[in-house]
């Protein structure tokens, strides 16, 4: 342990989380991208919520604990150390909820927040389209004004959790005459309503982890516009930072994986891979300390902007190299299905989703280092 300074209350919070997790954690569940696994993960969200651990930083009125950012990271450290399951509610909790808190109406908060905390409503993020990946602002799916609301048409793709989710959120072009980034509106919609077709797509690991979503005159009432009409881009970008930065990849995840890697190495201490094992540990330790630096900065009133891209580059490359090292250690057994191979397959997607690493490097170069734009 290093000597980060925590208050007594923070240490007490850590202990409470640790004890609760020890008593309730079901361990690794079947993949949440299968019908059986999705049900088990929803059940786990219900359990988490019953202990008020599903959204610790939220206000108590919405099922949270009003916890500080420090406490959130403490909770995440304990969560991963305990080896607790992945979170099927992640999209809702960390990508949608911050927008509802920041831009939503009181009615939207009432309608959606509580159901997000206990797995009742699982959300899918519908941003990407077949022709709009890295260049998200080129999206074409449309929203047309009708009596009392809007009609959505077009296609989204690569939408994680969509095969087993209940609702989606995404951007649609509501004003075709406006420039690329303008005239987009953020909508919430039901995945099981008329005109919506969800076509699951198997990922590299064979599970339907994401899906295409087709919209054929799908009616969405005005009350499901999030933020102002035409403000979709601005609203959406306020969550992109979350996705790349703290919210998606808390340090406990990598520290726990580095520990498991050490266990694996201990079965063959003569391995010539020792330096890679150490580097994985150093990388996870650096990520943990960097995160605490960010937390201290934010709690002192600072903000995280384009630095979120620095963070994303680090965790995605770290995750991949950590798992590649594990597979090297496993030797011929590396091809056998199991936790390392499964997690390795998932780590392959890190440099692609949440903005590819090439796009992140562009952001770091232009917005952090101040290099000139252009030259695409």
């Amino acid at each position: 342990m290093s000597t980060l300074e925590f208050t007594e209350a923070e240490e007490a919070f850590r202990l409470e989380a640790r004890e609760w997790l020890a008593a309730n954690n079901p361990g690794r569940l079947p993949s949440m991208d299968t019908a059986e696994g999705a049900a088990a993960h929803r059940e786990w969200e219900r359990t988490l919520a019953s202990g008020r651990w599903s959204v610790v930083t939220w206000p108590e009125t919405y099922g949270g604990r009003d916890a500080s950012l420090t406490e959130w990271v403490i909770f995440e450290e304990e969560y991963y150390l305990a080896g607790a399951p992945t979170r099927i509610s992640q999209n809702g909790i960390s990508l949608l909820a911050p927008i509802i808190f920041g831009h939503g109406t009181e009615a939207q908060k009432e309608r959606y927040l509580r159901d997000m905390t206990d797995g009742t409503l699982v959300w899918a993020q519908a941003w990407s389209e077949p022709e709009a990946g890295s260049d998200l602002a080129s999206l074409r799916a449309t929203a047309t004004r009708v009596e009392g609301g809007w009609k959505l048409n077009g296609q989204k793709t690569w939408s994680s959790r969509a095969p087993f989710a209940d609702r989606g959120f995404g951007l649609f072009r509501s004003d075709p005459s406006a420039e690329r980034h303008r005239g987009l509106t953020y909508f919430l919609f039901d995945l099981h309503t008329d005109g919506v077709t969800v076509r699951p797509i198997d990922q590299l690991d064979g599970t339907p982890g994401f899906a295409e979503i087709f919209f054929d005159d799908v009616f969405v009432p005005d009350e499901d516009v999030l933020g102002g009409v035409g403000d979709g881009w601005k609203v959406a970008m306020s969550t992109a930072g979350n996705e790349r930065g703290l919210s998606l990849r808390s340090p406990g995840r990598f520290c726990a994986a580095a520990e498991r890697l050490l266990d694996l190495w201990a079965t063959d201490p003569q391995s010539h891979l020792r330096d890679q094992v150490v580097d994985a540990w150093i990388g996870a330790e650096a990520y943990r300390l960097y995160t605490w630096g960010t937390v201290a900065h934010v709690e002192a009133g600072g903000s995280v902007g384009a630095e979120g891209s620095i963070n994303k580059l680090w965790w995605s490359e770290l995750d991949l190299s950590l798992h590649e090292t594990a597979l090297s250690l496993l030797g011929a057994d590396a091809e056998l299905s199991g936790p390392w191979a499964d997690d390795y397959l998932f780590s392959l997607s890190g440099p692609v989703y949440a903005g590819t690493n090439q796009i992140q490097r562009n952001i770091v170069a232009e917005r952090v280092l101040g290099l000139p734009r252009g030259g695409r």
Partner: protein, 320 residues
């Protein structure tokens, strides 16, 4: 939760930047490499006035009794500005080594910047020609006479072979070695930051194909990776200092992690700096070479990456 530098440490860092930014450090380095120490020693005096030389010396001996974190603040800036001289030896190592030994008389003069010393953690001592005394550090602390000069890849590092002479004291060398390693890590981090800053400035003004080369993605992405590596080495260096100050059981491991990460990041910065500068980056004449060569030398100083990785692994295995 608190993790990061204090306002005083930020102010100290800025004061060092003001002083060193106004001085012609590259000229002092180039002179130092030829054995002309005058400009470098003048710089030494001015840094002494800011308290750098007395950081780890106790207050009774005229020092500041400062923390290891303060030490990293200073060494990061020394590395950033490429200041030559036996700074690690005189400022980070000797003040931990000499108290309680017959050499304790030197401490006050070390603090005031009047005396420079060199300490050989292995076979060679840095800048023994300018040091008032040279020590060899093994299981015991010995005086040493500098012998033949050896040429470093970094010409500003003047190395001399040493053979241990008269034994001065039996000591545990570990705490002093850890401080030397920590200071070296901070220096590497500073040098890496400088290499990145100079590279960013260069690619904004150098044009090819009618555009600043910094517009090209191949160039941008190299520099973005350097920034990422340095940003993640920095908290390891800071944490190692915090752990040394607190005397945690894992402090030595934290120091090794800092050294490996800062060395890797600075080395990546140097390779990238050379690449984006093109041929001018490959010249001695251009000041960039001072940092490129220093980084290569420091990567292997105060413990090689392999030694530090082994130490980390040993500690992790022990802890389970």
């Amino acid at each position: 939760m608190r993790f990061g530098r204090t306002p005083e440490q930020h102010a100290f860092s800025e004061a060092l930047d003001d002083l060193l930014g106004a001085a012609d450090v590259p000229a002092a380095s180039r002179a130092w490499a030829t054995g002309d120490h005058s400009a470098g020693l003048k710089l030494w005096q001015r840094l002494a006035e800011l308290g750098v030389t007395g950081l780890l010396v106790s207050e009774e001996n005229g020092g500041l009794s400062a923390s290891a974190v303060d030490l990293t603040v200073a060494f990061e800036r020394l590395g950033y500005h490429g200041v030559p001289g036996p700074w690690i030896e005189s400022v980070a190592v000797a003040p931990r080594l000499l108290p309680g030994t017959p050499e304790g008389d030197l401490l006050a003069r070390l603090a005031s910047g009047e005396a420079l010393v060199s300490v050989a953690p292995g076979k060679r001592a840095l800048d023994a020609d300018v040091a008032e005394r040279t020590y060899a550090l093994g299981a015991t602390l010995c005086r040493a006479e500098p012998g033949a000069e050896r040429t470093s890849v970094d010409p500003t590092r003047r190395l001399f072979e040493v053979t241990p002479g008269e034994e001065i004291a039996t000591i545990d060398p570990a705490p002093a070695l850890d401080l030397g390693t920590l200071a070296c890590s901070a220096q590497l981090l500073g040098a890496g930051l400088r290499l990145l800053d100079d590279s960013v400035a260069y690619v904004k003004q150098r044009t090819q194909f009618g555009r600043p080369i910094g517009e090209f993605q191949a160039v941008k992405h190299l520099l973005a990776d350097v920034r990422v590596a340095l940003d993640f080495a920095a908290p390891l260096v800071h944490n190692a200092a915090v752990e040394l100050d607190a005397g945690t059981p894992t402090a030595a491991r934290a120091v090794s992690a800092a050294k490996v990460a800062a060395g890797d990041a600075a080395y990546l910065a140097s390779r990238t700096a050379l690449q984006v500068h093109g041929a001018i980056g490959y010249t001695r004449e251009f000041d960039l070479s001072l940092w490129i060569l220093k980084v290569r030398a420091l990567v292997g100083a105060w413990g090689t990456p392999a030694e530090h990785r082994a130490r980390i692994l040993e500690s992790l295995v022990e802890a389970r």
